[in-house]
Amino acid sequence: MSITRSMMEIVREEMDRHGVKSLKRLKVRIGELTAVEPEALRFCFEAYVKGTPLEGAVLEIEDVPLMGWCAQCSAEFRMEYFLRACPECEGASVTKTTGHELDIVSMEAE
């Protein structure tokens, strides 16, 4: 819930800054390796906007998979079950490229 509160604080600030009153859609990006469960975020969002002028706004969640990149062969791959070795060349120097996102992308408002 406090993640939702932080998110909505930013949204309200941005709405004030752009002089818009009604929120239609909010797009966020949530990485697989964060502690945020998309469905729980959706539930909290609905609870937060209920009975406020923001009620009815749609929360659009982009799930970002945990991806890895191999320094040895430059392969990019989905890190299934937190596999650390490269599935192409079995090299061990794999870095995470995505999966840590917890971002507000944009909003549709008027």
């Binding site: 930013i10 752009h18 818009v20 390796l33 945020v36 507000i104 992308v105 944009s106 909003m107 549709e108």
Partner: protein, 224 residues
């Protein structure tokens, strides 16, 4: 109707204050750790034991996070260690803002070199909230099951060290230490793993040695 680009981290405000906390602590030569675990895995006991072992080497202060009561801070104070309780009310984690308000108290103690922040017992949300610490330390106990790292990967991925506590209870559980280590290292191959027992004393010296040398390394890096 128009689309307004925001592109901002949801926790960007927390992260900003956490950055300030880190800056303050570093400037005053305080090494800080954030201990995260589920309720009842023994964080407070580990801190009590740690206090006994490191306080002669590094002057220590403790911030205790709980939803209610200052029982844990009271426990730490009994060892002659300054401890401040933050009660979070309904929140299941500490945030950078709460810690920010307590930092002046830490600095008033004078000469503190190590700050241990004990987070609210919870393995989920604390993983996402940077408090400004140098190091996150995950704690789990053998009564919780060796698959814990796979269930809560965010925490184990964000931590530098893992303490597996209550090893004295190993004979009474089906906890497999080998499997627990493997699961933890699968999530984070750089994790330093310590096996401790606060009742029998095992592994605490290794953990404290690591803590003191990490603090020393950080101090040296700052001096450069």
């Amino acid at each position: 109707m128009h689309e307004i680009l925001i592109e901002q981290g949801i926790l960007s405000k927390n992260d900003e204050i956490a950055g300030k906390n880190r800056e303050w602590l570093r400037a005053r030569g305080v090494f800080s750790i954030n201990m995260v675990s589920s309720p009842g895995s023994g964080k407070t006991s580990i801190i009590e034991k740690t206090a006994g072992l490191v306080n002669g080497l590094l002057k220590l202060a403790v911030i205790e996070g709980d939803m209610e009561t200052d029982l844990d801070a009271e426990r730490i104070r009994r060892h002659g260690i300054p401890a401040k309780q933050i009660t979070t009310g309904r929140a299941c984690h500490l945030d950078a803002h709460q810690v920010h308000h307590v930092l002046p108290w830490v600095f008033e103690q004078g000469g503190i070199r190590l700050l241990i922040i004990e987070n609210v017992g919870n393995m989920v949300c604390p993983a996402e909230y940077d408090l400004g610490e140098e190091m996150k330390v995950a704690v789990m106990s053998v009564t919780e099951g060796d698959d814990k790292p796979l269930k809560y990967p965010a925490l184990f991925s964000a931590s530098e060290a893992l303490i597996i506590n209550k090893t004295d209870l190993l004979p009474y559980t089906d906890f497999n230490m080998e499997r627990a280590r493997k699961n933890a290292l699968r999530i984070n191959p750089d994790l330093r793993v310590f096996e401790t027992s606060c009742t029998k004393g095992g592994g605490l010296a290794e953990w404290c040695g690591f803590l003191v040398s990490s603090a020393g390394r950080a101090a040296k890096a700052r001096a450069k």
